[in-house]
Symmetry: C2
Subunit: 299 residues, 2 copies
Amino acid sequence: MNTKTIAFIGLGAMGSHSARRLAAAGYRVQGYDLRREALQALADAGGETASSVAEAMAGADYALLFVVNGKQAEQIIFGTGGIAESARPGLTIMSCVTMPPDQAASLGQRCRENGWRFIDSPVSGGTAGASRGTLTVMAAGDPAAIDDCRPIYATIAERLMVVGADPGQGAMVKTINQLLCGVHLAAAGEAMAMAKRAGLDLQAVWDVVNYSAAGSWMMNDRGPRMVAQNFDAPTSAVDIFVKDLGIVVDVARALRFPAPLAATALQSFLGSSGAGNSQRDDAAVMLYYAGFAPAEPDA
Amino acid sequence: MNTKTIAFIGLGAMGSHSARRLAAAGYRVQGYDLRREALQALADAGGETASSVAEAMAGADYALLFVVNGKQAEQIIFGTGGIAESARPGLTIMSCVTMPPDQAASLGQRCRENGWRFIDSPVSGGTAGASRGTLTVMAAGDPAAIDDCRPIYATIAERLMVVGADPGQGAMVKTINQLLCGVHLAAAGEAMAMAKRAGLDLQAVWDVVNYSAAGSWMMNDRGPRMVAQNFDAPTSAVDIFVKDLGIVVDVARALRFPAPLAATALQSFLGSSGAGNSQRDDAAVMLYYAGFAPAEPDA
């Protein structure tokens, strides 16, 4: 039986799954979210809920953040009523938040100045991975702090990859990860739309590319929705990649590194979003290209 | 014991493996290649060699083409001393050649007019797949002819995908396949070079992305060579993707279909090739980006 207490902040699609897995493993999980329905869902699943960050922090050894961006993470830690007001010395903050590397580095620095340990540990694997506990964590921070948190990460994730000792390096690896995810997904849309334009059977195309050297995790996962043209049961929305590839090109620009494929993929997601698909499943990036696909080619 | 006779034309890196697999399975394989050393290698492996296309065609039930492009395929069939001069009626030509779809359609049409069956059946899987018999075949042609050839395809490939009844459709699926392969490989180069620019440990980055939603067959296979910066033992050269992505953008243009990711990836391969890496391993597409990577970013 685990006797550690975890303040779990952010009970969205992914966080709620991870919070429940920790509670089921015996941790004392004190969940908090601004949205009442998210708190209720955790309560219904047998978790303990808090009505404020301060209440979630009562007796907490760890604060685990699963909010949607760096701005929210900063507010939860340093804003009015935030973690900073109720944290005990030596607190470990595990941030599973996707944010720009410089923001993660800055938060890590401010936490260190306050005597807390900050682990920059974004995850990959989506809601399905959170549900099944098969996330990949890319962690950067004090090695002793990461070692101390291994049992917690092992409860929510399948793989813990230590990518550096400095907060910001986890976010940078996540940025590289999202470059690949975004380009692969847009490429799947480009390939499927071109196949449609050429009059091919999309199911047959998927059957070929999914098992050949053309395969990708993204094509495997999103391809069937492209074949079925089913974009209305989103597991992740088009605008999530508008955000994530936006971070990629911003980081690349700051590094003075040209990333032409990432920049091009972002245009595809922007085009799909701007055409009215912002909240549809991200496989709808194909619709950016599909605008060119329905008619027969010129003779 | 198979008693069928196969005229096997084209004994390059991939063809030689497939020819040997067919011979080992009991087929009478009569191999031909313009290059003397390719013939010698087949002879050393116990295969039968021919000194001309006509000699390879003697008594042949099938002609299997594994030459490097459509122009060679056309010459082998319809050029001086070609298959057309010695083919018996009802001959089945199995083309495993990667070529533009309109060229495959045209060859299929001319063969049909001569009373031969032509299967447009390019493959994916590379030299390694040919060696292990794990190729994927994407076949288009007369269904009865394809069924008749199933045992032959099963000897050289793991998967036979029938993608249509008309020659040209196999080439079109292969074109879509190469769009994905080329974009994924260039994206791997972009991601790894950006990671290098950001000062990350490339092995750790590969460990993360290879097992996450960012994974691709290409990153899995070529990524280790990017981590090691080892481009001098090519399994496939940079210029092969200059050719293959060249076909992709030409086909897209003819379809009046914009393929911005494929067009962008082609520029990356062109940049790497033009900088002196044309014959190096195709993972050297990373060197296009690496030109921007070595220096430290501005503060």
